[in-house]
């Protein structure tokens, strides 16, 4: 099925995503005690394989937190960090409350919690804007190359891929916030965006 979003819908989707990630950045800044710089959002329709290429070269190690969501849109929200900076992030988040010898032991847990706070803030902003609640299951941690991080999807399936790059100002740690929307929820996406644009909801 060809996926068609017109320019106005893509613009609306970018702005919704931008607002959501802005909220997420505020939550992350509070957690990491740092300013979070954001790139402009990108909205594309890709195969899963192409989406993985956008995130980085195959084989490059990454850490990712995946937050599945279901509702008017279905998909995954992802927070992706480069693997080699992970302990630094854990150290910042845990602060003085976790003994330094315990930091490695809680690495996955700490990164999952960063993802939990950031991605939930983003999803809550989307929920507010779209006027629909999303059902969330607990976030999942993953490590590996970009294909692994994107989860067990069929590589040639099409997805709506929204991504934004962020950078922590002081530590210069970079990463991505990514939303992968299943195309099965495309009609819901069009309806939600049209409603936001003030168009008749059955317009296409």
């Amino acid at each position: 099925m060809p996926i068609q979003l017109d320019a106005e819908q893509i613009d609306a989707l970018s702005e919704i995503f931008n607002i959501g990630v802005g909220k997420a950045a505020a939550a992350m800044g509070s957690l990491l005690r740092d300013e979070v710089l954001l790139s402009v959002p990108h909205v594309s329709v890709f195969t899963v394989s192409e989406a993985a290429q956008q995130l980085g070269a195959q084989g490059h190690p990454m850490y990712g937190v995946r937050q599945p969501f279901r509702g008017v849109l279905n998909g995954d929200a992802l927070l992706i960090f480069p693997g080699h900076r992970s302990l630094e992030i854990v150290r910042i988040v845990a602060g003085q409350n976790v003994p330094s010898e315990d930091l490695s032991a809680i690495e996955q847990d700490a990164l999952t919690e960063v993802g939990n706070v950031m991605l939930n803030a983003c999803i809550a902003a989307l929920s507010d804007l779209l006027g629909h609640e999303f059902e969330l299951s607990p976030p999942r941690f993953g490590m590996g190359d970009s294909r692994t991080i994107l989860g067990t999807r069929i590589q040639n399936h099409l997805v709506v891929f929204l991504h934004i790059r962020f950078e922590l100002l002081s530590s210069q740690i970079e990463g991505f916030v990514v939303f992968v929307l299943n195309t099965t929820s495309l009609e819901g996406l069009r309806t939600a965006v049209n409603r936001l644009l003030g168009r008749p909801v059955d317009a296409d």
Partner: protein, 120 residues
């Protein structure tokens, strides 16, 4: 007054951060941890607590269901749902159930909100 606080969260780091912040203000408090709603209920049956901080999105029983079950066991104990799930609908559901909603991330301010529930 020394109180017994139950922190329920599937994130160990979150439990440790909240414990650290609470104990900065109240080093005499006893803090017990549970990593699931089911474990929290078991602990509360064995040793009653004075205050509960409960995560919302957890594997198994979700935080609101666990909090409602805890309320049956400990009807006078204040329960806060401390969660990253900050959707308005979720906050409304928590408040309609008579629980206190506190948004993550866990900060000194969030810890103070929790401590205040105990009148401490």
């Amino acid at each position: 007054m020394s109180l017994r606080l139950l922190i329920v969260d599937d994130s160990r780091m979150s439990r440790l951060i909240l414990q650290g912040l609470v104990q900065q203000a109240h080093p005499d408090w006893t803090i017990v941890h549970a990593s699931s709603g089911e474990e929290a209920l078991q602990l509360a049956r064995e040793n009653p607590v004075d205050l509960v901080s409960m995560d919302f999105n957890m594997h198994g029983m979700n935080g609101l269901d666990a909090a409602l079950a805890l309320r049956q066991l400990l009807p006078r104990v204040p329960i806060a749902i401390l969660t990253a799930n900050v959707q308005n609908a979720v906050q409304e559901r928590i408040e309609e159930a008579g629980m206190v909603f506190i948004a993550k991330p866990i900060t000194a301010q969030a810890a103070q909100q929790l401590i205040a529930l105990a009148g401490a």
